[in-house]
């Protein structure tokens, strides 16, 4: 597969592994956070940790929009589907995420709610066109990569006068989350492996503050395992040299200004929320979007009143600490028993990018071997 297999070449991987081994300073530990769930998945899927020296510790960040969606918002999705006569359209990732009281969209659908998985928000728009007498709600999640598609759909709905289409907006912002992680103070991170496709949209400038004000190098990194390895190498070099800049390793896709069309659409269709609750990070200011006032007619939160349960989370759930890199999955008392991908108690276990799910699914054999 062009531009995919090239960046999975085993010989290049061995070369980069040698280079990293040669670059790490003896006696020093390097802690790099890969912010993005896609990177967590790539690292797990290719067994990358086997190619990195022990002195490199990869910390799995909160860049998985499913993982950081708070229970209350999951409850809202379930409520929309069960309390109102709507067709709820959602990306498949959300189906098994547990809300309060062990409810989920999958279970709601089993109980008769009309919930449909879509690959693209445009499919939800098509459902709305096909059923003008029905209310169709698109449950929008995702970081800045997934937000412009929602913008295109709402703008299209407005142009067509599709009055039965609304969006429940849960789009969240990457730099704000990175700020919140660093503000937490408890994590010790030496640098960031920066997101691939969020950066294709927002460009490189938004990361400057982390290098400049927090002293953390950021390497914007491509999606393939060789990209991650090259990023680790460059982060090691920066740390060794005491340098602190934003590098763009994914220059084949990411440009410094980013995607102007996407940015303009986001600015037109959305407004910043003052604050938004993130699973694990708590309330974070200026970290999420809602539909702009001009598009209020398409806002599901304005159209549908919801009777929501008081959100409950398992007190022993350590998702918050895991998401901030303070704890490892195996440090959570629920990990593995009873919390597993079959029976997820917290969001880190539901999405395959979640730190716990990735560790359980791809990596737990290591600990069993050791212990």
């Amino acid at each position: 597969m062009k531009y995919i297999d090239d960046f999975r070449d085993p010989d290049l991987a061995q070369g980069l592994a040698r280079a990293i081994r040669a670059a790490v300073a003896p006696g020093r530990t390097y802690r790099f956070m890969e912010f993005c769930g896609g990177h967590t998945h790539a690292i797990a899927r290719f067994g990358l940790e086997d190619l990195l020296p022990d002195s490199i510790r990869m910390i799995h960040g909160p860049g998985c929009p499913v993982c950081v969606l708070p229970v209350a918002r999951v409850d809202a999705a379930i409520a929309l589907a069960t309390q109102h006569d709507v067709i709820l359209c959602t990306y498949a990732d959300l189906m098994r995420v547990p809300g309060s009281g062990f409810r989920s969209l999958t279970k709601a659908r089993a109980n008769g709610a009309d919930i449909r998985m879509v690959y693209s928000v445009m499919d939800a728009l098509a459902v709305a066109r096909a059923h003008p007498d029905w209310q169709v709600v698109f449950f929008a999640i995702g970081f800045e990569t997934t937000t412009p598609p929602t913008a295109v759909a709402v703008k299209q709905a407005a142009a067509e006068g599709l009055e039965n289409f609304t969006v429940h907006c849960n789009h969240v912002l990457t730099p704000a989350a990175m700020r919140a992680i660093l503000a937490g103070g408890t994590t010790q991170i030496d640098g960031f492996v920066g997101p691939s496709h969020v950066s294709a949209v927002i460009g490189t400038a938004p990361y400057d503050e982390f290098a400049r004000d927090h002293g953390k190098p950021v390497v914007i990194t491509g999606f393939e395992p060789l990209d991650v390895m090259q990023a680790v190498l460059h982060l090691v070099h920066q740390v060794n040299a005491g340098r602190c800049v934003v590098e763009n390793q994914y220059a084949r896709v990411v440009t410094a200004p980013g995607n102007a069309i996407a940015q303009a659409l986001m600015a037109e269709l959305f407004t910043l929320r003052d604050r938004f609750e993130w699973r694990g990070l708590g309330w974070v200011p200026n970290s999420a979007l809602r539909l702009a006032d001009a598009y209020a007619a398409f806002d599901a939160e304005a159209r549908f009143a919801l009777d929501l349960p008081r959100p409950t989370e398992n007190k022993a759930c350590a998702c918050g600490d895991v998401l901030r890199g303070v704890k490892r999955p195996e440090d959570c008392g629920l990990y593995g028993d009873p919390c597993t991908p079959e029976n997820p108690l917290g969001a880190c276990m539901v999405s395959s990018e979640g730190a716990c799910a990735a560790d359980w699914t791809y990596g737990r054999f290591r600990r069993k071997a050791a212990g």
Binding site: M1, K2, Y3, I4, D6, F7, D11, L12, Q14, G15, L16, R18, A19, R21, A22, A23, F35, C36, G37, G38, G63, Y91, Y119, S120, V121, M122, D123, G142, F143, E144, T145, T146, P148, P149, V152, T174, P195, S196, H197, V198, S199, A200, V201, G222, F223, L226, D227, Q230, L233, Q249, A251, R252, V253, V254, T255, N259, I261, A262, L265
Partner: protein, 73 residues
């Protein structure tokens, strides 16, 4: 962030759509977010939308840098 794959544009379709191909699997996706795409371009596709073109020159440069890093070590 987010699952997105490089695919080759095989057809430009009306209403800002395109057909893309990856290993013989084709999908119709939206070009609403990227300008000036032509047949033969590679685009990164996420949830049914092209997000960006892929620059072959930069790809080659990145691979060359990776090879170099391995040689020096």
């Amino acid at each position: 962030m987010c699952l997105a794959v490089p695919t080759r544009v095989t057809q430009i379709l009306p209403e800002q759509m395109a057909e893309v191909d990856i290993e013989g699997v084709t999908k119709q996706i939206s070009l609403a977010l990227v300008d000036g795409v032509v047949v033969g371009d590679y685009v990164i596709v996420h949830v049914g939308f092209a997000l960006s073109r892929l620059d072959p020159g930069e790809a080659a440069k990145t691979l060359a840098l990776m090879a170099e890093a391995g040689l020096i070590a």
